[in-house]
Amino acid sequence: MLLLDLLLMLLIAYGFGFLYYGLYRNLSARVHGRFGPSLAQSFSDSIKLFVKEESTTFGWMFYLGPVIMASGAVLNVLFIPFLNQGESLQGLSSYGNLIVVLYLMVLGPLGNALGVGSSGNPFGVMGVTRGLTRLLALELPFYLAAIGVMIDAGSADFGIIMQAQSTQSNMFAHPLLFAAAFISFLGFMGKSPFDVVGAPQEVYSGPATEFSGKFLALLMSQSAMFSFAKLLLMVNLFWGGADHLGELVAKTFVLFVAATFIGSVYARFSTVQSVEFLIRIPTLLGIVGLALL
């Protein structure tokens, strides 16, 4: 039963991940004033990459990098409950908690960074370095917000955190914390202005520079699932979770659309600027939010 539940969660994350990816391309196309590709385009892309005839590898670590990354994304999906009540779609959330998930979010990228490094391509490593440098500032406001949420709920357990919001969700109860977390969330989603990692005009393709064929396909699939997991995390922490799947989709969709639209009207900060911005404004918001707790 649990196994079926887990598979269902993965399927939902995979499906909605790619759907949102397609929506992202469509919505930003509308902002651009064009139609954009079909909704399933990203899915087609990933399938095509899976069936490319060859994929370049630089050795076993390079081969394992995307696998670790994807496993990290899978773990994230499994350890965040989809719904705030009931037995189904809870996954392994009772075996973990928010702190575990916060760390799991970094596990995949760090594992992939090993693969990137083993290719010996300087662009890849520069992308990873940018990612890790940005991360140190990106996590700070998010952590502050998460700490506020945990202290407020008196637990790091997702179920309790969501229950604590049954009267009023954290988003409205602690708007400053939510603002801090949302700015970080934009960065986690790789949206402008914090999209330094793979900036093509700067570091070629960043960490993805050497990945081709099935490796790239795996990276695309995991990124779709991972984005869904991040949306889920935001909904659970700040929006009281969801009672049923419909509500979940609606809430994640709203957050997703907000992130997409914000992302399409900002220029990219450089790494240094992102770090300075993130340490200044959202962190301050977070600290004030904690003080008001």
Partner: protein, 368 residues
């Protein structure tokens, strides 16, 4: 062996490079310690090719010297040939030429805007501005038959009469663009995130900018109101009213602001052209037959202000129907070498594309 500084190439196969060229960068972390421009990827030997062609044959290829903005090449070529051969151009043809040049300038600025915004990851601006540029290209197509390469400004005048209702359509387009420019102000020029990226980056300063032969927005961005249209008027620019926008900061943002104002000035000029253009008049002088069209044994230098700076042709005839020698001097060569290389040292890697775009470097014109 100490390996502190890594060497990477920024281009030629790189999304952050303006066209087909490359910059070899030595990086300490992401800080550039040395930059070297590499060109030669696009060399076609124009100057040699032209020596083997008659004037009309040469006319067809000069526009290909600079792809984003071919018309200044045609104008230069026509002006040089006219000066050498002693041909007077009618007022109406001159007005049409000014119109074409200003439309091309507007188009080139919109294309620049796409590049500049793309270099900071603000893709939306590029999507919009390329669309708007396409509307200009549509008018070009009506006028000349070509979208990109027009082969329109021919020695002696222009090659075709204006189509019916062309000026009205142009006028309508200008109204549209005027409105769009406000949208670009909001999305791009006044966007805090772009300002944050662009202010204080790639600063060009001091008197030496004049001595080293920089031109265009680089000069106007650091406070020198230099513009060939005003300083060395050609065609009918001395009869038109326009301002030369300047900024004093000398950074990427200053150059962007100069371009923003120049777009409005171009629209202003075009409106005057539409209002003042004579209804009647020959658009083309009577020229000698193809094989009899010879240039005297003299030389001349003509220059026009392109969207990126001074674009000059040196042309020498030898009494035959061939051009003895033609030398092209574009703004990009100077900017890509003697300006870009020192400017990049000490900057971050993320600013390379930003600075290159703001200098308006165009590789095909560097290498001809």
């Amino acid at each position: 062996m100490e390996r502190k500084v890594i060497t990477i190439y920024h281009g030629p196969q790189h999304p952050g490079i303006t066209g087909n060229m490359s910059v070899e960068l030595d990086l300490m972390g992401e800080t550039i310690t040395r930059a070297r421009t590499h060109v030669g990827y696009l060399h076609r030997g124009f100057e040699k090719l032209i020596e083997r062609r008659t004037i009309i044959q040469a006319f067809t290829i000069v526009c290909r010297i600079c792809v984003p903005e071919p018309d200044p090449n045609e104008a230069n070529f026509a002006l040089a040939v006219e000066r050498l051969a002693g041909i007077e151009v009618s007022e109406r043809a001159s007005y049409i030429r000014v119109m074409v040049l200003e439309m091309a300038r507007l188009g080139a600025q919109l294309l620049w805007m796409a590049g500049q915004s793309g270099s900071v990851g603000l893709g939306t601006v590029g999507q919009w501005s390329i669309y708007d540029r396409d509307l200009i290209l549509d008018l070009f197509e009506q006028l000349t038959g070509g979208r990109v390469y027009h082969m329109y400004i021919y020695p002696g005048g222009v090659r075709r009469e204006l189509p019916d209702g062309f000026l009205e359509r142009l006028s309508a387009l200008l109204d549209y663009l005027q409105k769009r420019l406000d949208a670009y102000d909001r999305l791009f020029f006044d966007n805090a995130s772009f300002q944050k990226r662009a202010i204080g980056v790639g600063v060009v300063r001091g008197e030496e900018v004049l001595r080293r032969g920089f031109s265009g927005q680089v000069l106007r961005g650091c406070g020198f109101a230099r513009d060939l249209r005003r300083d060395n008027p050609y065609l009918l620019y001395d009869q038109l009213e326009f301002d030369i926008p300047t900024q004093s900061a000398g950074d990427v943002y200053a150059r962007a602001l100069v371009r923003r104002a120049e777009m409005r000035e171009s629209i202003r000029i075009l409106r005057q052209v539409i209002a003042q253009m004579p209804e009647e008049g020959a658009i083309m002088q009577k020229l000698p037959k193809h094989r009899k069209f010879t240039l005297p044994k003299e030389d001349t230098y003509v220059a026009v202000e392109s969207a990126r700076g001074e674009f000059g042709y040196y042309m020498a005839g030898d009494g035959s129907e061939m051009i003895r020698r033609m030398q092209v001097k574009g703004p990009s060569l100077i900017h890509a070498f003697s300006l870009l290389e020192p400017l990049l040292v000490g900057e971050e890697l993320s600013n390379v594309a930003l600075i290159m775009n703001s200098l308006g470097i165009c590789p095909p014109e560097i290498e001809r």
